[in-house]
């Protein structure tokens, strides 16, 4: 009887300790990556190559998603705003929700699933096929040569992708609001410009996406580096990257938003 109660408790405790352990190791890993970042900047070509893979190749999905999100926001916003006779505020609604929240968050989620999972799988497979060990043998630090460039590529790419997402979203809102529904174009832009503040809205959005970029890049590289060197291990690490990135992004968003709103008024 006692054994029956004990077993699940032990398992639960083990899972919890395991989670705490992972967080600690991830923090140490983060410091190691930063310490090994010198090579990434002295040989910037390494980072550029990775930016091509994680940033440039994500452009299409980010731009198209941004356009659609903006269009949906325009349609939904119009539906509600029209009841109060405030259709002109549609520009303000689309721009504020994109710049403050949706731009950084949705592009970070897309980035985690499009690029983060790829980084994890690549590093995990390099580890499984012992390429990382081989590098170590040749006195080439895999931290400096493989991990750090991918980390910095993520940090550079995501804020730019978030900006592109928001800009495309505003354009989508313009297409639906002005071209399709026929809201006055002047009022659309004027209300938007009156409501969106550069420092409080745009810059805070950029700060948010930078925080997400660091979080997603650390998680993606760490999960790859930490993956068990088997086919199953790599697949699980990839899944874990997407899941824990998504959770981290959303919870980090809550914390950052709380700080930014407090500072606002």
């Amino acid at each position: 009887m006692l054994e029956r109660i004990r077993r699940p408790l032990v398992q639960l405790g083990h899972k919890f300790v395991e989670g705490v352990w992972r967080v600690g190791v991830m923090a140490r890993f983060f410091v190691l990556v930063l310490a090994a970042s010198g090579t990434s900047f002295s040989r910037f070509r390494l980072v550029m190559r990775e930016v091509y893979f994680v940033g440039v190749l994500s452009l299409v999905i980010i731009a198209v998603s941004g356009l659609f999100v903006g269009m949906v926001l325009g349609l939904q916003g119009f539906e509600t705003l029209q009841r109060y006779g405030a259709q002109e505020s549609i520009g303000m609604l689309v721009a504020l929700s994109l710049v403050r929240e949706l731009g950084p968050v949705v592009s970070a989620l897309l980035f985690a699933s499009r690029a983060g999972s790829a980084i994890t799988a690549e590093i995990g497979l390099m580890k499984a096929t012992e390429q990382l060990t081989a590098m170590d043998m040749m006195a080439v630090s895999p931290m400096a040569r493989v991990i750090a460039p991918r980390f910095w590529a993520g940090v550079i790419s995501l804020p730019l992708l978030a900006a592109i997402f928001s800009a495309m979203g505003v354009f989508g809102g313009y297409l639906v609001g002005v071209v399709l529904i026929g809201v006055d174009s002047g009022a659309f832009w004027a209300q938007m410009q009156a409501a969106v503040d550069f420092r409080y809205d745009v810059l805070n959005g950029v700060i948010k996406s930078m925080a997400f970029a660091v979080a997603v890049s650390v998680i993606a590289t760490f999960e790859g580096f930490d993956a068990p060197p088997t086919a199953e291990g790599v697949s699980r690490a990839t899944t874990r990257t997407v899941v824990s990135s998504a959770l981290t992004i959303l919870s980090l968003d809550l914390v950052l938003t709380a700080f930014m709103l407090r500072a606002d008024d």
């Binding site: 070509r45 550029m48 190559r49 930016v51 091509y52 940033g55 440039v56 452009l59 721009a95 710049v99 550079i156 790419s157 804020p159 730019l160 992708l161 900006a163 592109i164 928001s166 800009a167 495309m168 505003v170 832009w189 938007m192 410009q193 009156a194 969106v196 503040d197 550069f198 809205d201 745009v202 959005g205 950029v206 008024d265």
Partner: protein
Amino acid sequence: MERTTIDLWFGAFVSVGFAALLILALKVGNLGAEGQKETYRVEARFDNIGGLKVRAPVKSAGVLVGRVQEMHFDNERFQASVTLALDKRFQFPKDTSASILTSGLLGEVYVGLDAGGDDKKLADGDRITLTQSAVVLERLIGQFLFSKAQEEPAKK
């Protein structure tokens, strides 16, 4: 240094990203309309500022001339002290009056400036003495009901 297609892609990606940021700053945001323009600060005391917020617009004749920079409660006079940052390009006479207005019934609260006739102009750190407080709708309704109730017996 030899060039590769990666360089081209990287350059294109970074330019597109910064172009998007620039669009957000200038076209979507208000950086182009009112960036770091030179301002001078003027103080005004109100009995009641209603729903005025920091960064609310200051308008004269309906045109934006500045923004509310700071506001606090003056514990000696029991009034609200509001600091307005006005655009240097617009100089107002010393006897300009400030009032707290609302655009439309549900619109945003702003500070309206009505220019006076004084030759001297407001300078940095000056105070606007003529002020008119915000209209509190509840009080207005209360007054209306009160006057209605007073009228009723007179008719009989």
